[in-house]
Symmetry: D2
């Protein structure tokens, strides 16, 4: 099947956290998405742009407007956004409210990619796949499942995304 | 969105090759699919069954018939098959010829999962995602792309799957 | 050359930190030392015991006394202690002051072992090696070097252990 | 303690084998030693030179003479050699026969470093440590143990190095 190029916006989140050897804390440096796409030997044309590198708990309304506007003005009809899990559902609502008429898939990770045991590579493969075949709309793709953007929340106790 | 359980048949392939410390050769032991689904924190119900553990260059017509019959008799409508890349397209043709009326997605890896730099986890995420949303048919999901089972081949020089 | 069994005391430190998926923080669960020795296919008899699982910044005088007493009462003459890097030099001084007459090697890691890019496995190989051949005394083995316990400090700016 | 620079000669072996995606075979490309020393944050000055990149079963007498001559002419008194495990003991004998008057430690790996589950990083840490403190002689450092070069063999059935 023919493939269109996918726009991939990076916003940070657990996905991209790294370990700071000097302070012993997690922090953001550069995104790992390029390395992940290389490891995946990804053959879908993926145009990556980093919009921000933040913990999604620190994401403001202005940040969300910036994400929405970047999705609106992108030349591509199919987009993937890497995002912290804590407020992914909120950003999905903001994107839905904007009525973009595009296929937008949000994804993230429970464990940083820089850790050997991350779900990030699996989730990225999942998001890029859903983005190619789902009709226009806003979706959250996590741990193999896909949710409609207005019917998803992260269960804070279990850490699992679920339908609402 | 509601998710149906997915049947996952393991047949071996590069995906599951391991390094034998005594002989220095690659060989098959147990599948890594269970470990991969755990790492992925996969929330789609996935029913795994190992049908064979072979290099796909060694796959016979009888092996392909066994795969087809297992797909036919499975209770599930959506199936993923892990498979060596060399003859994945042939197995796709055999499945198509059987007219199963189910969604079957074949996937594999260019590098063994037991190697740190494998595309396997990405491909598994991709295959499980396509299997949930594509209509009945036979597909090959590799490196982010999905191909119709009767229009795909592996380019032996480049190692890349391409449309035919 | 004949090898004596080595006593390995675990006290925590960066070495053993893990990522908590629910809180996004680093924490301690079980030690990774057993898994590391298995991966290393270690053929030296190593008797592992966890004394505590703490950040070395939280280590009290009472904790250090417990470490000293465990080293003293151990049947083995050769010991390795995994320890956080921040106060490793202080524990070395406490062990020296106790005059144990044994070979004690402290080691740790700059990056948690659970991260793919840790120096932990290298350091563990180094510490177990120095412990077999150095005369009685207290040593710090980090990143290939070995320091006398009373002539070492961690440079907090660079994160590097150096002689004093 | 003061550290002298260590000369590190690379000869290939399991240590440095990689997976060829096109043929599905293991092969040699570049050594992983530089990456391993970086990961280890190694603070001992290590001067790396690749002498050959071969399976030690393919090592000829001429290859062994080249290794011996490189050890003899090196400016350093302390050397580490990475080597395939199958004929490591033979090369140790050749080095002993040369009477170099230097400390030479041979090491290798049971599993390629490029595989996630390799003992290579542990063995490298061990070899670099033994090389710093052992008196002139030829040694084999594998899996935490160190053997005199004239009293070691690899048990082909178990894959384990043992004293003879």
């Amino acid at each position: 099947m023919a493939t269109e190029p996918i726009r991939l916006f990076v916003t940070g989140g657990t996905f991209d956290k790294e370990y700071d050897e000097l302070t012993g804390r997690l922090y953001f440096k550069d995104t790992h998405v390029h390395e992940m796409l290389r490891l995946a030997r990804c053959r879908v044309e993926t145009r990556v742009r980093t919009l921000m590198m933040i913990d999604s708990l620190d994401m403001t309304d202005a940040d969300r407007r910036a994400i929405v506007e970047n999705c609106r003005s992108a030349a591509e009809q199919r987009l993937v956004i890497t995002h912290g899990t804590d407020t992914m559902a909120e950003t999905a609502r903001a994107l839905l409210a904007a009525g973009l008429g595009k296929t937008v898939v949000l994804t993230g990770a429970m464990v940083p990619y820089a850790f050997g045991s991350s779900d990030g590579l699996f989730n990225l493969g999942s998001a890029i796949s859903f983005a190619q075949v789902l009709p226009p709309g806003v979706y959250v793709a996590m741990n193999g499942r896909v949710f409609a953007g207005d019917h998803v929340r992260k269960n804070r106790e279990s850490g699992i995304f679920e339908e609402v």
